[in-house]
């Protein structure tokens, strides 16, 4: 299905896949640690409104998606921090509002249709332009910098918010930081796996990794490896078989989870059975 003319397209796609495979699980580890596995889904829904807004205003959809997703992430964080009562429902309202807003706005825009949204909902890695790649690269650097610089603090925050506060950490700032970083990641991954499957790339490699590990750092590292294998492997598969890359990537990640689950069970069993749980 590809010839030499497409080789630069393939190169760009592979680089994008690699970057997404690195960033999504890195942020995902903190998100899962915080027990907010569905945060990526929520942001993804909201980002759709951002994409549609881009078409409506003739702006680059990725840029409007970044802005709207970041605002949505901040809104989710504010709802979450307010307390549990009603937070669950409030989040659901944001999700539905995001999808509905996206579909409505794309209908209002001149050139757009629901078909336009499909490439964002399910990804269209083969249409990654050089400009897209610069944006993805920049966001990747931003996301990984956050993890490197604030990782120690985020670990404490995601483990126990009260302890973070009693350690003098800027809890509100860090909470916003992790939420906005997640939003950036969603937008980065949007082109590769699509908004509907972004969250899978943030959660599944982490879930697979923690079957094999005992520590946070190790989980983070192995999750990033899982992520890269899934994105690059899934994309490679679609070069031979004509299926949607997003689906192939996520299914490969899930297969990795199944293997890790079996392997992890075996490892734990062969270790002594001292554990009480």
């Amino acid at each position: 299905m590809f010839d030499l003319l497409q080789s630069s397209i393939i190169q760009r796609a592979l680089i994008a896949a690699l970057l997404v495979g690195l960033t999504a699980p890195a942020v995902g580890t903190f998100i899962v640690q915080r027990r907010l596995s569905l945060l990526g889904d929520g942001i993804g829904h909201i980002a759709l409104t951002g994409v549609a807004l881009g078409f409506l205003t003739n702006t680059e959809p990725v840029l409007t998606a970044i802005v709207v997703a970041a605002l949505g992430a901040v809104a989710i964080e504010l709802v979450r921090a307010r307390g549990r009562t009603g937070g669950d429902v409030a989040l659901a309202l944001l999700f539905y509002g995001g999808i509905a807003g996206g579909v409505l706005l794309i209908g209002l825009s001149a050139g757009g249709s629901n078909a336009t949204l499909m490439s964002y909902l399910f990804g269209s890695i083969s249409s990654v332009t050089p400009q897209d790649l610069w944006v993805i690269g920049g966001l990747t650097v931003a996301v990984l910098t956050v993890v490197l610089v604030f990782g120690r603090e985020l670990f404490v925050l995601c483990q126990d918010e009260e302890v973070a506060r009693a350690s003098g950490l800027p809890v509100r700032f860090l909470s916003m930081l992790i939420a906005v970083t997640a939003a950036l990641t969603v937008v980065v991954a949007m082109r590769v796996v699509g908004l509907l499957l972004v969250s899978a790339l943030m959660v599944v490699p982490v879930a697979a990794s923690q079957q094999l590990t005992r520590g946070f750092r190790a989980t983070l590292g192995i999750a990033m490896i899982f992520g890269v294998v899934a994105t690059v492997g899934g994309l490679g598969y679609t070069m031979y078989v004509d299926v949607a890359p997003g689906a192939a990537i996520v299914l490969l990640a899930l297969a990795g989870f199944a293997v890790a689950l079996g392997l992890g069970t075996f490892i734990r069993r062969s270790r002594n059975r001292e554990s009480t749980r």
């Binding site: 603090e153 009260e162 302890v163 506060r165 520590g215 946070f216």
Partner: protein, 294 residues
């Protein structure tokens, strides 16, 4: 650890903070010791329910204070409010002479929360959790120092988990997880320890270990504020007990002798000291050995 280096009487009292209004010398008790916690008329409402109703409490450096009371009496809420983790709806509270929002020397506080939120959704090794106790002493972008590593190693040794440092905290028993949380606080080498139910649901060995650790800390001059259902092996350490009932302090002084009897089966929950406090019998409906959140 550094607490072992401090003489029991040789604690320095820093200059009193400026701008703090206090009847005695600012930031000190009459004996000249630094005031660690000072709550005046503290009120807390949680979800419309009044949990603390006018608490006056002052804790000086070097004191060992137990907050006692039945489930729901507001013990945990009190210590969390003292740390500024829960906002007051009335009155005020100070940490080392400053409002919690303006307090900056968080390395002086070692908070041991009620068990386990340890771990979250991702496994963490014992060492990772204990090392995170250094966070208040670490600067962003500074790599982990030798002092950090030493403190973590000492903390792990103190709670007897040095040989298991690489294990996941998820694999530990309740008592061992409690020891991890205590080691995390120890690793930060704070002046003051705040422990929420450190003995609840903890095996006898871990309880003895906790008592031993606390003895060392107290001898070195550390301040300890702990919440407990029953003092158990900690009884000999605690010199002052604050008993809460329905969000009000009903006793503040020497530990009520009957509290120790809670550890015994079949005790009748009648407290001779309660009458002396002028508040009638204490509420001792249930003192389960594994308690929920107070």
């Amino acid at each position: 650890m550094s607490f072992a280096l401090r003489g029991s009487g040789g604690r320095e009292t820093p200059e009193p903070p400026i701008g703090v209004l206090r009847t005695a010398q600012a930031g000190q008790d009459p004996a000249g010791r630094e005031t660690v916690f000072a709550m005046t008329g503290g009120r807390v409402e949680l979800e419309g329910r009044s949990v603390l109703r006018g608490i006056d409490l002052s804790v000086s450096a070097g004191e060992v204070v137990a907050v006692l009371g039945a489930n729901g009496s507001g013990k945990s809420t009190l210590v969390r409010a003292l740390l500024g983790l829960i906002p007051l709806t009335g009155g005020g509270t100070e940490l080392y002479g400053r409002q919690p929002a303006r307090f900056r020397e968080w390395w002086r506080i070692g908070y041991v929360p009620q068990r386990l939120s340890v771990g979250g959704g991702v496994p963490s090794t014992i060492r990772e959790v204990v090392a995170s106790g250094r966070i208040a002493r670490q600067r962003r972008l500074r790599p982990t120092s030798a002092a950090d590593r030493d403190a973590v190693a000492r903390a792990l040794a103190t709670v007897g988990l040095a040989d298991r440092a690489g294990d996941s905290v998820h694999e530990l028993s309740g008592g061992q997880q409690q020891r991890v949380l205590i080691a995390r606080a120890l690793a930060g080498e704070p002046d003051t320890f705040v422990m929420d139910e450190p003995t609840a649901g903890v095996d006898a060995e871990s309880q003895r270990l906790l008592a031993g650790t606390l003895t060392t800390l107290v001898a070195a001059g550390s301040t300890v504020l702990l919440v407990a259902h029953e003092l158990g092996p900690l009884e000999s350490l605690v010199r002052r007990a604050v008993v809460l009932r329905d969000g009000v302090v009903v006793h503040d002084g020497a530990p009520p002798p009957a509290v120790g009897a809670h550890a015994l089966p079949g005790h009748d929950h009648v407290h001779p000291h309660a009458a002396a406090a002028g508040e009638g019998p204490l509420p001792c409906e249930v003192y389960p050995s594994t308690g929920g959140q107070a």
